[in-house]
Amino acid sequence: MADTALSAPPRSPLAHDAHRLAAATRASRGAIRLAELPFLAQVNVRLDAKGGAADAVGLALGLQLPLEPNTVVRTGELTAVWLGPDEWLVVGAPGSQAAVEARIREAAGDEHVSVTDVSAQRTTLLVAGPRARDLLAHGCSLDLHPRVFGAGRCAQTTLARTQVVLVARDQPRAGFWVLVRSSFAGYLTDWLLDAATEYLA
């Protein structure tokens, strides 16, 4: 019995919906791109931004934890997302969460730092394409204009009355990451696909 379980691959929250997202992407003829980026490593980090641990953790991760509210810092495969004055979400490649957590704990030493693996807490939706901003504007009250919410910006807000973390990706064309609590992901997908109706051929 254990064998059957072992052989089953992990299932992401939107595994059921991948084909619908792909179909909408195709039907939009380049206007929007929707996909789940499953299993990204996500580690929640809490520490005193003014304390010594901030620098040590930054050094260990190879990136400075962003101090400016609602910004992200990226290096290589890691992205540090500002969540609060003492809270960050470090996002990395699938499977790297244990390593990231270990690096942070080691760097922090005896300092009071909280590290929590939250990789399954949220999943990530990619919302990209020339109409991505219009699509999100149906349910997000933030101004996502590139002048206001350009590359390197992030925000915790609500999209379709669901709490999300929005991240503007580096290239303007690259669109947004929408990090959503896994339990809301199915609903948000339904909502996005319905909102996209107008952009589909």
Binding site: L6, P69, A120, V148, A160
Partner: protein, 1054 residues
């Protein structure tokens, strides 16, 4: 929607925040040292000032930080925000007032004047190259042209009557050419039924079928197949209205780089210029300029209908209505724009006002400027022979245009004794002008046939004109609706004889005739200046646009303020056409003692129809002022409220309907539950399996079967929805000791404790388990519906009261999927899947947890029971939840493993007397009331709620206790919420209530029904007989212990 600035995240909609009450009320250092009165003061008393008030807010949907804000409670303005721990800064009043017309005196307001002025445009039915459209009205088929409204197309076909009035059934004709229309409110029948639309705002399309209405429409009986949606928009400057002022303001913004939205309710830009036929080249050039400026968005067919806090405006865009059956199904028919503008320029124009004269409602009576619009814009002559009745200059231009277009103007009747240069101009054109005269009556049935004229102020007939059109102008009302909704104050302008915008707390300016400027050159200059000012205020370099030369106009003569005109005895003089309210009705209202227009409005219904009194509001105020013998300036107007035009509920609901009406949360196992026939229960936003009926089973038998499996064999449930919070830090144990009523710090790593959380008033707030993961790390569970509230609660105490504690809390609700495995056979099932786990009772005792592998998956297994049976909770990654669930299915099959839902869970826990917070409690229940004194620490120096247990109120012997209830008849079922009384005969009211049923079930284990109830002094009544009124009879019940199943706990260890 307020825009509240988070000290970290910046301005966000108020919906992202939670209110936290008055700030700077610190938790007392030593609550036990306080008197009851001092403690009550801390708990229950808060200031309630009018004016600045320091309060706590939490940016719940953002950074989760608590902060302080000073809000003016009389205006809702946030005066300042500051971080917790910072001193309250001094606050001045914000911003102060914005004048609706700043620096007005500096602007050139008039174009060239004197002489005869420009020739009127000579054209009728100029749109010859447009498409012909076929439509049906009241069963007859007609042709119209592309660009027509239903009203203009009807007029072009000689149809002017479009309704009968709501109360009196009088024939009513098209009265205006815009959103102010009171009469021609029609029903669209096809392609989709839609009631109560002004024919003047319905764009004509091929195949339109409409009918006239007797003042009331019919709702569709079939579902609306169209899409409706909403978007959020942001801009530096929102310009409302694309008439001369709005276009000039927008032209100033072109190429400035500022983000501008220009919203206009018409399909083409130009506003009143389309009706006057003036400056067509400038309109088309400006349109081209705006549509090619990348940062300017022009929203056509878009009516801004609501103006709310912090420059938040709502608009409805009619996107496909004008396409009729050709509308693409995937495009929203209407879209609500939620616009957040840094500054607003209102260029909403003015509505012409009517006059209250005898029989002023016959089809053929029309506002003068509207008739001009039909001629110039639509190329339609609304009649052949017209009398013009005016109190001001503007109707002369209308008369001249109509005469040039081919309408015979029988006479211009002007109440003013000297009508000045405009009268000369009309006479030159061969039109008779009767100064100092008024219309005193009309004749005609379904259409006007003649007009009676007398010396102004007299009623005996002097002249009678044959006419099929009577054009009326009683002056102009600036469209101040949005300005007024914004909180702007209006003032009475003596010269204009009407109410104009004065000042507002919001960043808004009013330009053009909306501010009372009526001459075109002045309107253009003011619009351009308003645009420049708005841009400069937002830091953009703005350049005043080149404005077109305006042809010379005759020298103006001041208007005369007239509201009522005496006329033929007994003839009704209508004030509100849509509500059939006359001068006589208003007279009755004032005679009955009404002294305010708000009162006369409600007494007579004047202004309450779906036109919201656009043409009648100021007229009604004027009539009431005359009746009361006061000046209209002392009376004011009635309050303007959104929406400015009727907006359909479908548009307001948008996509928030059906499956998208509210967010839905599902677990990683949801698809399995669906496939296996589960019915679902909503718990908060979660969909939880309720029960799993098998072939033909009803709920009762399904739940009895599931309960029996859990008590006798093995059953399993998806418990992933429980809230989970990771609490880390050297002070975590101390923190939890303060938060829970019981002791947490003594918990050993590897063990679990049940805990109760209370509010400072001592009432139960939440309960759950606390696992100690490590010396400085705990995992706390919460009830399903309360997870977010508990995390917010923890953050509130950490951030505002105990910032010195080194603790962090992180939600991990979805990080884990949880399966409850319950029943005497659960150990065998778990043992078969977890070979490395020593499952024997002595190795793995109750309230312990172990890390191991279950079915080859990394798992954290807890020995927790919410049923009284031997039970486990297995936590794995939700990515692997299905694998675990299916492995349990397979391993449990030999024991008949049965999935169960929330109903069975409730029965099992209720049989054991375990309360559900929020079902068996309601915010007035202490742990002691629940019989949980054992969970309230006597040793801890303090915890939240402790001081309240020393209050006399929490020690009253007649507090309601949680008890069991057994009906005398074992089959009788007590509905939840049933009240309980002492006697078998109801005494005369008020009947003393002893309590109520909080939970009620049928029990497989007990073989009968049972209930839990909160009963006054319940624990002292065990064995007592009470009565429950159910369906008209008093059901005898016996009070029992809440623990009805296995009171000795023999089943816990299997």
């Amino acid at each position: 929607m307020l825009l509240i600035p988070c000290p970290w995240c910046g301005p966000r909609d108020e919906s992202e925040y939670h209110y936290g009450g008055q700030a700077h009320i610190p938790y007392p250092d030593d609550p036990s040292a306080l008197t009851d009165e001092e403690w009550a003061r801390y708990l229950f008393f808060r200031d309630n000032p009018k004016g600045p008030f320091a309060e706590r807010w939490n940016h719940t949907a953002g950074c989760r930080r608590w902060f302080n804000a000073v809000r003016d409670t009389s205006t809702n303005e946030i005066l300042t925000v500051y971080r917790v721990g910072e001193e309250r800064p001094a606050t001045a009043e914000r911003g102060g007032l914005y004048s609706a017309r700043p620096a007005f005196e500096d602007e050139a307001l008039s174009g060239p004047i004197g002489g005869l002025g420009a020739e009127p445009p000579a054209r009728t039915r100029t749109r010859t190259n447009t498409r012909t459209l076929t439509f049906t009205f009241d069963g007859a088929e007609y042709q119209g042209r592309e660009g027509d409204t239903l009203a203009s197309a009807l007029l072009a076909n000689g149809v002017i009557q479009a309704a009968t009035s709501i109360k009196l059934g009088r024939p009513r004709g098209i009265f205006s050419a815009g959103a102010e229309e009171p009469n021609a409110v029609i029903q669209i029948e096809e392609p989709f039924p839609e009631p109560m639309l002004p024919a003047t705002t319905v764009e004509l399309y091929d195949g339109l079928v409409a009918t006239s209405l007797p003042g009331q429409g019919r709702l569709a009986t079939e579902p609306d197949p169209a899409r409706y949606d909403a978007v959020h928009d942001h801009c530096d400057v929102l310009i409302v209205g694309a008439g001369p002022a709005g276009l000039a303001a927008a032209a100033a913004a072109a190429r400035s780089g500022a983000r501008v939205i220009l919203a206009d309710d018409q399909p083409e830009l130009g506003g009143s210029l389309l009706g006057t036929g003036e400056l067509p080249t400038w309109v088309s050039e400006t349109t081209r300029l705006l549509t090619t400026s990348p940062d300017i968005r022009v929203l056509h067919r878009t009516t801004v209908f609501g103006y709310y806090d912090d420059n938040h405006l709502l608009a409805v865009e009619r996107r496909t209505n004008h396409l009729g059956a050709a509308a693409p199904p995937n495009v929203a028919r209407e879209r609500v724009h939620r616009i957040r503008a840094r500054r607003v320029v209102l260029a909403t124009g003015a509505h012409e006002r009517s006059l209250a004269f005898a029989d002023n409602d016959r089809p053929g009576v029309m506002l003068a400027h509207s008739a001009r619009t039909y001629a110039n814009r639509y190329g339609v002559l609304p009649g052949r022979r017209a009398v013009v009745f005016t109190t001001n200059d503007s109707a002369y231009a209308a008369a001249l245009d109509l005469a040039a277009a081919g309408v015979e103007i029988a006479a211009i009747v002007d109440t003013r004794d000297d009508a000045g240069e405009w009268a000369e101009r009309a006479r030159t054109a061969g039109i008779e002008v009767l100064p100092g005269h008024a219309v005193t009556g009309t004749d005609g049935d379904t259409r006007l046939t003649s007009v009676t004229v007398s010396t102004y102020g007299r009623t005996e007939k002097q002249r009678e004109f044959t006419a099929d059109l009577l054009l009326v102008s009683g002056g102009w009302n600036p469209v101040a609706h949005l300005f007024s909704q914004a909180g702007g104050r209006l003032r009475h302008d003596e010269t204009l004889g009407t109410f104009v915008p004065d000042s507002c707390r919001q960043a808004v300016e009013v330009a053009g005739s909306a501010s009372g400027v009526l001459d075109l050159a002045g309107v253009l200059a003011q619009g351009a200046a308003a645009g420049v000012r708005a841009l400069e205020a937002e830091g953009y370099a703005a350049q005043a646009p080149a404005l077109p030369a305006v042809p010379a106009q005759p020298r103006p003569t001041p208007p005369m303020q007239v509201f009522t005109v005496p006329g033929r005895e007994g003839a009704p003089r209508f004030v509100d056409l849509q509500r059939d309210v006359t001068v006589d009705d208003l007279t009755r209202a004032t005679a009955a003692g009404m002294r305010s227009v708000e009162h006369t409005k409600r007494y007579t219904t004047a202004g309450t129809a779906n036109d919201q009194g656009k043409t009648s509001g100021v007229l009604a105020s004027g009539v009431v002022a005359e009746l009361l013998g006061v000046d209209i300036s002392a009376l004011g107007t009635t309050t303007f409220r959104p929406p400015y035009v009727p907006v359909s509920f479908a548009a307001l609901a948008g996509r928030d309907r059906g499956g998208l009406s509210d967010p839905v949360r599902t677990t990683a196992l949801h698809a399995w539950h669906v496939t296996h026939g589960a019915l679902f229960e909503n718990v908060g936003q979660w969909k939880r399996p309720w029960y799993y009926p098998q072939d033909g089973e009803d709920m009762e038998s399904a739940v009895l079967r599931e309960c029996a499996a859990a008590r006798e064999g093995v059953a399993f449930m998806d418990a992933s929805t429980l809230g989970k919070i990771d609490v880390q830090g050297p002070d975590a144990a101390l923190f939890l000791d303060r938060l829970y009523t019981n002791m947490i710090s003594t918990l050993k790593t590897g063990m679990i404790r049940y805990g109760v959380m209370c509010r400072p008033d001592g009432m139960v707030f939440d309960d759950g388990t606390v696992m100690r993961l490590a010396q400085d790390r705990f995992l706390v569970t919460t009830t399903t519906g309360n997870a977010a509230a508990v995390l917010d609660w923890m953050e509130e105490w950490l951030q505002t009261e105990w910032p010195e504690l080194r603790v962090h809390c992180t939600s991990v609700t979805e990080q884990w999927a949880t399966v409850a495995l319950v029943g005497p056979k659960s150990r065998a099932v778990l043992g078969s899947l977890a070979p490395q786990l020593a499952v024997a009772n002595e190795d793995f005792p109750f309230m312990a947890w172990r890390e191991t592998t279950v079915a080859g998956l990394d798992a954290r297994v807890c020995r927790i029971s919410f049923s009284g049976e031997l039970a486990y909770e297995i936590n794995v990654s939700p990515w692997e939840a299905l694998a675990l669930w299916e492995a349990l299915c397979e391993a449990g099959a030999p024991y008949g493993i049965t999935p169960y839902g929330t109903e069975t869970m409730h029965v099992l826990r209720a049989e054991k007397g375990y309360p559900i917070v929020g079902q068996d409690t309601d915010g007035t229940v202490t742990p002691q009331d629940l019989g949980m004194s054992w969970a309230v620490s006597k040793k801890k120096p303090d915890f939240i709620g402790k001081r309240s247990y020393a209050r006399a109120d929490t020690a009253r012997p007649d507090r309601k206790h949680l008890v069991g209830l057994l009906t005398e008849e074992p089959g009788t079922f007590l509905p939840e919420g049933t009240h309980l009384v002492a006697d078998s005969v109801l005494p005369a009211p008020p009947v003393p209530m002893l309590g109520h049923v909080t939970s009620s079930y049928r029990s497989a284990a007990l073989g009968r029904t049972f209930a839990l109830a909160l009963v006054k002094g319940g624990r002292d009544r065990i064995g007592e007989r009470l009565y429950a009124p159910v369906g008209g009879r008093l059901v005898p019940v016996t009070v029992a212990s809440p623990v009805l199943y296995d009171p000795e706990g023999a089943h816990r260890d299997g």
